[in-house]
């Protein structure tokens, strides 16, 4: 695993929904290269026919009865919202150029 290019790091930051400053892009790019090179060592391990572990202790698919029960009141659930209009959360334009 070679060093990540600046473009790869920028793409990754977009996928991760992170705004990174130029110095952060440089630093994280170089750190990721080092860490991934180390972690790349697992590629050599033969895992033919080894099932991936999804959970540590086998549990049956947990389905519960569809019984209605009280849940968090709307006002409580919205208490931490940074910007509200009544029971709605306000966000800026979702499609660039449109109105919020």
């Amino acid at each position: 695993m070679a060093e990540l290019t600046r473009k790869e790091v920028e793409e990754l930051a977009l996928l991760a929904r992170l705004h990174l400053e130029p110095d952060e892009l440089d630093r994280i790019g170089s750190e990721l290269g080092t860490i991934l090179a180390y972690f790349g060592t697992i590629a050599a391990v033969d895992t033919t026919d080894v099932p991936p572990m999804t959970h540590a202790v086998p549990v049956d698919l947990a389905l519960r009865a569809d019984d209605p029960a009280p849940s968090l009141p709307v006002a409580e659930a919205l208490r931490g919202a940074p910007k509200r209009d009544g029971d709605l959360i306000v966000v800026p334009a979702i499609i660039p150029g449109s109105e919020s």
Binding site: R17, L18, E31, F39, A43, M53, V57, P82, V91, P92
Partner: protein, 519 residues
């Protein structure tokens, strides 16, 4: 009376008999926090009013002859990634600065029901990502045994608070060692239960297939008493187990005759001095020992001599009491570190996608939604969290999933099979908890160097097993050393029983950290 270093049993007994009121205990704990925490920095939030209200309610119940719980009057601190109704919860991150959750985590509800008094929220590495609590966005927490050293992490505040006698017990979370390692560094007991033993509902998620909540206490019996309360199935956590909860308190028989203790030679392999110093600025020694299965590296960064000696004394103390040691092999141990640091960041990158500035937490405004997400997250997350989100996003990205995440999950199966095989020949596995004792602030500069300190604690989470740290001595410099026991799934009773024997044979006794203020 000096209630600050009472055990749970003593505290409960004195409250029930009325020798002391819950109010007096809480006032004592709050005074001690005020006095000591300016130096230690274990708490992010101290809930004086809430604690006094809970205490008053307990005293009222007692006076009225109403039933009292098994933790009645016990001051407990919570790692600040456990949500608390009407009490700020930050997970050590600026992105949740000032967030007041609208509900209690299941463990908090259970603690309150048992009469425990929540005194406050403790410091941690941001979202639990770290091994020193230096990655908290808020403050530094000092090790009560030596203020120039870290308390470990990520549950560093929880460990320091208990160690310094600011509360009787605390809860932490353990994703790769975050309960056991700070417990080792602070000279206390820390238990990571079997995955699914304790409900994670209301724990701020880091890596959902690895996270588990557990107690940090000064004694093994106290750990048993807290686990007794928090264990059990929770319909709100689909991964919590329905298995019945045994009596952990009764498990402490003080006997280990015939107990088979597995010593995994991979954990004790001597570091190869000839491997040479750091390579190409990696900031760590990538090949410190003999090759295993052609992997080209071992996980062992070298156990400090005083730690090794303390572990050997512990093993000797157990065999003197009738336990039998068994050499075992966990051949895939070397893969735990790379597998962990793929699985955990991958799951974290997904879990932390919820912090986007929309529904709760910090928001940085922008003219478009995508930019709002990116600006909010860029400003709200610290460097280690960003690094892990980037690493996790890389591992999960289209075309890389099989090479990283799936491969790492397959390696978890190999590690789990190693343990399954080993547990045919032994009842518990014994290792050092950490390669060394508490380190100085700023000592671990590269991310990998920090990650390597976790080599002994990670496999437990990857395999979903229970693990416990028990103090087993102090260095000549006066720093605590911890031994780790790993058990079969749901076999916390055997872990606690063995830990209890270690505690009475080679534990710290009444030795307290100097940073406990000498009071």
């Amino acid at each position: 009376m000096k209630p600050e270093f009472w055990s749970i049993t003593e505290t409960v007994k004195h409250v029930i008999t009325g020798e002391i009121t819950a109010q007096q205990i809480v006032d004592g704990a709050l005074d001690r926090i005020t006095f000591l925490d300016r130096e230690v920095g274990a708490f992010l939030e101290v809930d004086k009013d809430g604690a006094r209200k809970q205490a008053a309610e307990i005293d009222r119940k007692r006076a009225a002859g109403e039933p009292l719980g098994s933790l009645v009057g016990v001051p407990v601190a919570l790692k600040d990634n456990l949500v608390t109704k009407d009490l700020v919860t930050t997970a050590g991150s600026k992105i949740l600065e000032g967030w007041v959750p609208p509900y209690d985590a299941t463990v908090v509800t259970k603690l309150r029901a048992a009469g425990a008094i929540i005194v406050g929220k403790t410091n941690l590495d941001e979202f639990g990502m770290g091994s020193s609590t230096e990655r908290s966005a808020y403050k530094q927490t000092k090790n009560p045994w030596d203020p120039s050293r870290v308390p470990g992490g990520s549950s560093g505040g929880s460990a320091a608070a208990v160690s310094a006698g600011m509360c009787v017990a605390s809860l932490g979370t353990d994703t790769g060692g975050s309960i056991r390692q700070p417990a080792a560094f602070c000279g206390i007991v820390g238990l990571k239960p079997t995955y699914g033993r304790v409900s994670r509902w209301g724990a701020v998620a880091f890596a959902s297939s690895l996270d588990q909540i557990g107690p940090l206490t000064r004694t093994v019996a106290d750990a048993a008493a807290v686990l007794q309360v928090i264990a059990g199935h929770d319909p709100r956590d689909a991964t919590s187990l329905e298995a019945p909860v045994p009596s952990y308190v009764d498990a402490l028989t003080g006997k280990v005759e015939g107990l088979r203790i597995g010593i995994p030679h991979e954990f004790f392999a001597a570091a190869d001095e000839s491997a040479g110093p750091e390579e190409e600025g990696l900031g760590f020694t990538p090949n410190p020992g003999p090759e295993e299965e052609g992997l080209g590296f071992t996980p062992n960064p070298g156990i400090e001599p005083e730690v090794r000696a303390a572990i050997e004394r512990t093993i000797a103390a157990l065999t003197e009491r009738g336990a039998i040691t068994v050499d075992i092999s966990l051949p895939h141990t070397a893969l735990a570190l790379p597998a962990y640091y793929i699985v955990a960041p991958a799951e974290a990158s997904s879990n932390l996608s919820r912090y986007d500035g929309v529904r709760y937490g910090k928001r940085v405004d922008a003219s478009e939604l995508l930019e709002l997400y990116r600006r909010t997250r860029g400003a709200g997350f610290g460097p280690e969290v960003k690094r892990r989100i980037m690493l996790g996003t890389y591992a999960l990205r289209s075309g890389y999933y099989d090479a990283y995440y799936k491969k790492a999950q397959q390696i978890r199966t190999l590690i789990k099979r190693d343990f399954d095989r080993a547990f045919r020949f032994c009842d518990v596995v014994l290792t050092p908890t950490t390669p060394g004792v508490a380190f100085q602030f700023g000592a671990k500069t590269s991310p990998l160097d920090m990650y390597l300190g976790d080599v002994f604690t990670l496999s437990c989470n990857l395999a979903g097993l229970p693990g416990i740290n028990v103090p087993c001595g102090v260095t000549t410099g006066g720093l605590p050393i911890g031994v780790q026991l790993l058990g079969k799934p749901l076999d916390e009773p055997t872990l606690l029983r063995t830990a209890g024997v270690i505690e009475s044979a080679v534990g710290l006794g009444t030795r307290r950290p100097s940073g406990a203020g000498g009071i």
